[in-house]
Subunit: 117 residues, 2 copies
Amino acid sequence: MKRLNAKCKLWLSSKNIEGVFGDGKWRLLEAIDRTGSLREASKSLQISYRKAWGDLNKAQDALNVALVEKQRGGNIGGKTTLTSEGKKWIEAYSKFRADVEKAVGKAYEKRIEGLLK
Amino acid sequence: MKRLNAKCKLWLSSKNIEGVFGDGKWRLLEAIDRTGSLREASKSLQISYRKAWGDLNKAQDALNVALVEKQRGGNIGGKTTLTSEGKKWIEAYSKFRADVEKAVGKAYEKRIEGLLK
DNA sequence: ACTGGTTATGCACAACTCGACATATCGGCT
DNA sequence: AGCCGATATGTCGAGTTGTGCATAACCAGT
């Protein structure tokens, strides 16, 4: 029997909308924080700007929170920066995710590993 | 801010193959145990026989374990029953899943709920 | 004004998944 | 030998999701 590993895709949903927030959007926020730009963030994550833009809006609409402040035009073209709410979400989700990852690892050791002789 | 809930898609992967075992295949095994037939199992889960059959084979191939014993022909056409290994997997995965679900709930309360004023 | 880089947004296209359909095969019973 | 219902498997089409391309709007600086 081969060696396995447990994976877990985590996300939050509201009553009406699936995938309000999850790993992808979390990484996106982090990348925005790091780069100061939605375009640069999408590049660094190797996803299309189109998707990054859509994801960000979806999260904001669904959560009804301003996670970022976007600015068009100007000498540098524009920028996107996190709001304090956005930073809180990164922080909270990061811990949430870490808690779950840890639990998954433990549960795997406890429940599954025994089956793999 | 709206009420959210945390979701978690769990699965096991081997080095080469994604999705070796997960909720879908777990439910499939349970349904097979309950019905004694792959066809009936697929019906009760409202998935196509085609998919059920493919999933089952994929799991067995990837785990390199006989989870079920299939029998073609005969007066009742055929049947599919779990092996003792199959039963062990149901049991183990069920507990694994429950552990993780519980942890997700706790982590959600601890890390996320505070953000939702 | 003009420029350059970014945000904003629609649309057509490719990849992937899954379901529906079509057949073929199998093997106790009658 | 023929039947019947389940397993076995390929194939085509629909729905979903993300990418790529095109284009517009924006605006501090030169």
